[in-house]
């Protein structure tokens, strides 16, 4: 029973991967459409990133001596956080947005999942350019430790489809969750060490720092660049979270992929 469920999910994912041209093309169109008729096009994604990073670096943190490393801290934090926030907020309404396709075609659900992953990744790529610019301007030296950050990025990308699947089904079966998730993601920016750091403070911050799973997904990208060493514990923890999410996602996809059409 459980095997059949997972097999059904893998079927869906397998045919989704075979149709990669579809979701790559659709994601490109999506990004293009959002910026069509604007002079700067997708560069607005970069500008938006700079605006946020600049606000934190120059307004929130003025006058401190360690501005250089704080800039790197915020730059990496925002890069990962924006990606997570955008992906999860979009995930909850994914199947509802794709209702026409789901009720009118036999495309596997993973096509929509990968389309969203692709969109988010393209957006994040613009922010990544901004992130690297800030890192170099703030005097962070390019080093082999950045490869650990790259590994962190890969781990995040590999975990994303599972998270999208889970949140998409959540949103389809419990429409209210769309608002819950979008609220949490907005507040989450402040509850997660995106622009504040732990550095010995106690109380609520301490709890938020340690018990917030997002912390660790930020750290696997941020820590190698800031300290030059691999964040082994965070990497292992994120890997474990990824495995749990994937197991759950395969079960949910296998169980509900043929039923979601009756729900939306």
């Amino acid at each position: 029973m459980m095997l059949a469920t997972i097999e059904s999910a893998l079927d869906d994912i397998h045919s989704g991967l075979r149709m990669r041209r579809v979701w790559i093309a659709l994601a490109q169109e999506d990004i293009g459409d959002q910026h069509r008729r604007t002079a700067l096009g997708p560069l607005w994604l970069l500008i938006n990133y700079f605006a946020f990073a600049g606000t934190f670096i120059f307004v929130i943190h003025r006058g401190d001596t360690s501005t250089g490393s704080y800039a790197a801290y915020v730059a990496t934090g925002l890069l990962v956080w924006f990606y997570i926030m955008e992906t999860l907020s979009q995930s909850v309404s994914l199947f509802v947005r794709e209702e026409g396709f789901i009720k009118g075609t036999t495309l596997p659900l993973s096509v929509y999942v990968m389309r969203l992953l692709m969109q988010s990744a393209i957006r994040a790529a613009y922010a990544l350019v901004g992130c690297i610019v800030i890192l170099l301007l703030s005097g962070t030296a390019l080093s082999t430790a950045w490869l650990w950050s790259a590994l962190g990025v890969l781990l995040i990308l590999a975990t994303t489809p599972a998270a999208i699947i889970l949140f998409a089904f959540l949103g389809a079966y419990f429409p209210d969750s769309q608002f819950i998730v979008s609220n949490i993601m907005r507040i989450g920016m402040f509850l997660t060490p995106v622009f504040w750091s732990y550095e010995g403070s106690g109380g609520v911050r301490h709890l938020l720092y340690y018990w917030n799973p997002f912390t660790y997904f930020l750290e696997i990208v941020r820590v190698p660049i800031l300290t030059g060493g691999p964040p082994i514990d965070s990497l292992l923890l994120c890997g474990a979270i990824g495995l749990v999410l994937w197991t759950a996602a395969l079960m949910v996809l296998g169980l509900f992929r043929k039923r979601v059409v009756f729900v939306i």
């Binding site: 149709m19 041209r21 579809v22 093309a25 659709l26 169109e29 293009g32 459409d33 069509r36 026409g100 396709f101 789901i102 009720k103 009118g104 075609t105 036999t106 495309l107 079966y173 419990f174 429409p175 209210d176 043929k258 039923r259 059409v261 009756f262 729900v263």
Partner: protein, 241 residues
């Protein structure tokens, strides 16, 4: 060899009372039978449907609104999974419902053809091979390189029709006979549809147009409330109706 074998097919789904504090959505499904009280209600959209089709068969589906025609087509296509009984389909299935689904306003006609082709599961070579034919049939000329949103409704419909019918169908499912455009294009569209119908191994066509069904189909399945009311050869049905 193409074939469709449907045995004892049933489709029952639960009407979900969504977990929400907002006012209840009181919309009801347009067809089927509604059973159950209170929190759980079930819709029986299809119940005990049996038929077999082999190469050369043209099945017409008739019945009142909500009898289950479209649902049956969607089960055959694979959008709905049956909840009881079985559907065995041999051959590639193409469907012509909702032919304008997924056209992108900002993309050019040409790009839309590519996107639609990819969604149909064609590879780039197949798309390239059909491209000129589709463009020519749609009579869009130079407009093909302009954004879809600049098209008139008729032009958009012509493009949708041209892409959707650019198939070599083994099994073709249709929800109503489709057509598009001005009278001249309609003639062309009719010819193209007849051609498709001749090429296809099996056709299942849901329609209210009895004259069309008599002309096209050799078998008629009449549905009522999700069940089979009668299954006739077309001549018998024409004589009795």
């Amino acid at each position: 060899m193409v074939s469709i074998r449907v045995s004892n097919l049933g489709l029952v789904y639960r009407l979900r009372k969504k977990l929400t504090l907002a006012a209840r959505d009181r919309r009801l499904p347009t067809g089927g039978r509604l059973e159950g009280k209170g929190r759980t209600q079930y819709v029986t959209a299809l119940d005990g449907v049996n038929f077999e089709l082999t190469a050369g068969d043209r099945l017409g589906l008739v019945g009142a609104n909500g009898a289950g025609k479209t649902t049956l087509l969607k089960v055959l296509y694979g959008i709905y999974a049956p909840t009881s009984g079985s559907v065995e389909v041999e051959g590639r299935v193409d469907a012509l419902f909702n032919i304008s689904l997924g056209f992108r306003r900002e993309a050019t006609g040409r790009r839309n053809i590519v996107l639609r082709g990819l969604m149909n599961g064609w590879n780039m070579d197949e798309i390239e091979a059909r491209m000129e034919d589709v463009i020519e049939f749609s009579e869009l000329g130079d407009f093909i390189d302009l954004p879809f949103k600049t098209y008139s409704q008729g032009m958009a419909a012509r493009l949708a029709f041209s892409v959707a019918t650019s198939l070599d169908p083994e099994i073709l499912l249709m929800d109503e006979w489709i057509g598009a455009g001005d009278p001249k294009f309609q003639d062309k569209a009719r010819d193209r549809m007849s051609e498709l119908a001749e090429k296809a191994g099996i056709i299942v066509l849901a329609s209210h147009n009895h004259a069309l069904l008599k002309k096209t189909c050799n078998k008629i399945l009449e549905l009522e409330n999700g069940g089979v009311k009668s299954l006739h050869l077309a001549e018998e049905w024409a004589a009795s109706a």
